[in-house]
Symmetry: C2
Subunit: 212 residues, 2 copies
Amino acid sequence: MKQNEKISPAVIRRLPRYLRALEDLENSNTERISSGELSALIGYTASQIRQDLNHFGGFGQQGYGYNVKDLKAEIEKILGLGRQYKMVIVGAGRLGQAINSFISSYSDDFCVTSLFDVKEELIGKEKHGVLIRAVDDLTAYLKENPTDIGVITVTKENAQSACDALVAGGVSGIWNFAPIDLERPAGIPMENVHLSDNLHSLVYYINHPEQI
Amino acid sequence: MKQNEKISPAVIRRLPRYLRALEDLENSNTERISSGELSALIGYTASQIRQDLNHFGGFGQQGYGYNVKDLKAEIEKILGLGRQYKMVIVGAGRLGQAINSFISSYSDDFCVTSLFDVKEELIGKEKHGVLIRAVDDLTAYLKENPTDIGVITVTKENAQSACDALVAGGVSGIWNFAPIDLERPAGIPMENVHLSDNLHSLVYYINHPEQI
DNA sequence: ATATCCTTGTTAATATTATCACAACCCCTG
DNA sequence: CAGGGGTTGTGATAATATTAACAAGGATAT
């Protein structure tokens, strides 16, 4: 990265999109790509693509474009991929199981080591090869088994205490699926997936198609 | 809405957040709320809250603030809630089932009428009281049973054809969980939930906590 | 009634984000 | 190895989005 420049969140949210496009290109054995071609593929302007990438360094070559393999490697490095992230999921209901299944099939870079739940009847069972433990044991488990990411898929009512337990256990980041904005110490990143909010936005645009 | 003013997507994405806060306030029997108090609750500046709401009309009163019940009703009206939206889910795997379960427990405003899948062994079964049909019958089903929203929870490879079938069947909007940007006719709104992108952004901030 | 206190709606200022435009300069062809 | 074509990196400009500031006017207390 150039200096200690603060990168805008808008740029960061686009990086995974670039990565997906580059993976597709690599799979189709494309060796090089220009910002203009990338623009046609993913819809951002060529100018924006060049400016985004330039926040992190000049990965392209004039008259040539970008080397697909190299650029993909650079973006993976920027994001911090290339090592394994250990995860736990708090909430072993349908959503927790779906996320567990998604992660295990998605990439070896992410590994769910345990699920947690309050429900007696779930504790001790396995889902997708992952053991469900009692949520009371969460913090203790995390201290024994250092974990990078905590996923919250419990109800709104239980989300804050799940978050507190994850923080107490020393996770580095939180992925929250509960429809609530959780309190946490500064410096702990959190990504929210608010399904209901998302659905409501969709409904707005269904009713105002002229605004799309 | 004031005139035919085009409302920025940034504003639209905040409306569901306001709605959530107002629901909580209503549940705790709070009658009135000022933009300053709302700001403390949800983190947006008071100025932004007032400006957002004013795009749609003056719902507040000087020296008093906003009436919780009324403001909630206004935002529901703006979003287009208050009627039932019929939905189908294409992809009856874990994610599809999780979304189905989420929706049925979330609100009566949304109703999943059918799941669809390619897998022979799933077709004819019921999940959460909803029948799984063959994806080949999707468009025909939609023509018989007018549907507002199509949810895509199939693999990346099958997502575009699912999208095409939904559009051919006349859905008004699409909620896409596949990690791909789908082609569709202009005027069909689509909300994307790209879990992998989201996870990658989280990983970036885990590795650059100073940038939060 | 009246005066004070609040809080909105709204305009202006600032900050952030996206686009444009082009010089620099590398690839590629012959 | 020279010239034409193509593409980047980047500073300037435009567009959006957010925050600040305050006049207008209702709520509340007395």
